[in-house]
């Protein structure tokens, strides 16, 4: 079955997704009867394009990576050059006859989750399914967007929001029927975990952070990570989806890491413990993100570098942990692809 995609956001994740779609094309077709065609792309800095007959995603990624705008792949005979993401969503919704999915990969706005939420709302209103790697929609507006999707018989999926492609939301939804999640604790931000690992060896905070930035692990503006906002957004998404919390990242009790973490991390390590930025929550209570000293044999204490882990506390199965031991862009791209397969599977049902 053909599914038409409109990509909103075409940064590192969006472009890796476009390439992964090609790499997995034959397998998606053979195993899932899924034939994805990109018909629209909206970007913040590289223009936009629409082509009802299909856009070559790899060529488009090459174009952007060569520093050229997407206007070159736009089909001028069909529509005016779209100016904004909402234009591309509207064009895709009007054009395609069959199933349409908006693939949202813009970056998180920690203030209010927009414009990602706007994109999701517009897509659902136009009858498009949504898959997104952005944490904002599930962290800020889960209940409302879930209700809109359900009312339209549409999917709203976001596996990439937490632990990239390693299944968390799909894991609970698809493989733990009737199980109630009572709480969770996790190390779910890689940058702070990298920095804390460096601090344990006696490195000071500022040089450690600068080194992580030089290595491309931390962002140029690392505030989202070191202040705990990224972990708080993930904790809010987890609490909203798994425990019906109905909160935003601003409700999370949040303590980040900073220069003061260096001595604490080194001292903890010297006494056989590990300082880790832990996101935790109990059903009915507000999630917490804060540095915690953990015994070294604790599952979360042993995580180094990009390794992430989430421990779910459940009613029937006690504690279950899922760990992402590697990492990388392809993981997040895969999350989008796995969500597309879920959209396809639901069409058979």
């Amino acid at each position: 079955m053909r599914i038409d995609l409109a990509l909103v956001g075409f940064g590192n994740v969006g472009r890796r997704f476009a390439r992964l779609l090609e790499e997995q094309r034959s397998q998606l077709l053979a195993d899932h009867d899924l034939d994805c065609r990109i018909i629209g792309i909206a970007t913040g800095r590289h223009g936009a394009a629409f082509r009802a007959g299909g856009i070559d995603g790899v060529a488009a990624a090459d174009l952007v990576e060569a520093g050229r705008p997407l206007d070159d792949v736009h089909d001028g005979t069909a529509a005016r050059l779209p100016a904004r993401a909402l234009d591309v969503i509207a064009l895709a919704a009007r054009s395609a006859a069959g199933a349409r999915v908006v693939v949202e990969t813009t970056t998180l706005n920690i203030r209010d989750g927009r414009p990602a939420i706007d994109h999701v709302e517009a897509a659902l209103a136009a009858g498009c399914h949504v898959v997104t790697a952005n944490k904002g929609p599930a962290a800020f507006a889960y209940d409302d967007l879930r209700a809109r999707a359900d009312a339209g018989g549409l999917s709203f999926l976001f596996e990439g929001a937490v632990m990239d492609g390693v299944p968390i939301f799909n894991f609970v939804r698809e493989t733990l029927p009737t199980v109630k999640v009572l709480g969770f604790r996790g190390v779910i931000n890689s940058t702070t975990n990298h920095i804390l690992t460096a601090l344990e060896t006696g490195e000071a905070f500022e040089p450690a952070l600068a080194r992580m930035q030089a290595l491309g692990i931390a962002e140029a503006d690392p505030a989202l990570d070191v202040d705990g906002w990224d972990a708080a957004a993930k904790a809010a998404a987890l609490a909203n989806v798994l425990m019906g919390a109905g909160i935003t990242p601003h409700d999370v009790r949040r303590t980040g890491i900073g220069p003061g973490s260096a001595a604490r991390a080194a001292a903890a390590r010297a006494s056989g413990r590990r300082l880790r930025l832990v996101a935790s929550a109990t059903r009915g209570a507000v999630p917490v993100v804060e540095p915690v000293e953990l015994p070294e044999h604790d599952l979360l204490g042993g995580l180094e570098g990009t390794a992430n882990a989430l421990v779910l506390r459940t009613d029937l199965l006690d504690e279950i942990a899922i760990c992402q031991l590697g990492g990388g862009l392809v993981h997040t791209a895969y999350a989008l692809l796995s969500d597309l397969v879920t959209v396809r599977r639901r069409m058979r049902a």
Copy 2:
């Protein structure tokens, strides 16, 4: 939707399953439109019963736990008292009009996986779905049983075969589409993990084993565990299902633990390492079960007592680990229940 169940095996797992079914009855109905009715029970030592109108599973469990045979709940007007498991399967297949599932919970026969395989074959031949907690069918005869199930449009599920109710097979099948499993390594036998943890403190093997038996952790005949057969059966099932190995537990290169493990475990611990019975495999090679010295910060090295973990090596997501941090009979019973939900979900598709 009503689904009729024939229980083959009614030991600790089967009885806990019957009780769990009652505990979750309203949720199964509300969330999954699943109404399970037990119509037959076959046991090795407590007789058998058949009642087309439905058997009260909790009452039957109470009866057996009071040391009485199941004959009392048998409906004598409908059929002669069934003598064997195959009789109960045949009665269930003939009697029920709608969907029928054989729930197989007999214990593993490490010689050839029978009679569990016979039960699965008979159930599939009679048009019944199969869910089982027995490792034998997937460890000894996966390809053949899978082909029979597929040919009949039936489900053959066995989530409980490895790590009890924590999803492994469902995890890969439902949440990792297009991902290829390249290998695995895991600590997947609780008894040996308990014993090795005891040996690390300087306890000798025989007293440690005797203490585990007294605590009910090790079996009266612990050979299946300490000789590595249980882990080998699980490794074979994993290799067959996840990597198309087509092997039996007898193909696994297997080394168990014994009196010689005591000094090794204590010495490893003293030098900051942990001795663990590890099952591992690479696609295309024969799985191995053997005691391995692991760094303490290794995910598998840190597991204590009943904790189990499986690390999957994949093409797209590097290494992913799933950990079962608690344990107990309800976990295995839950595995059967989650498989029943899968059977139900497939009926909608």
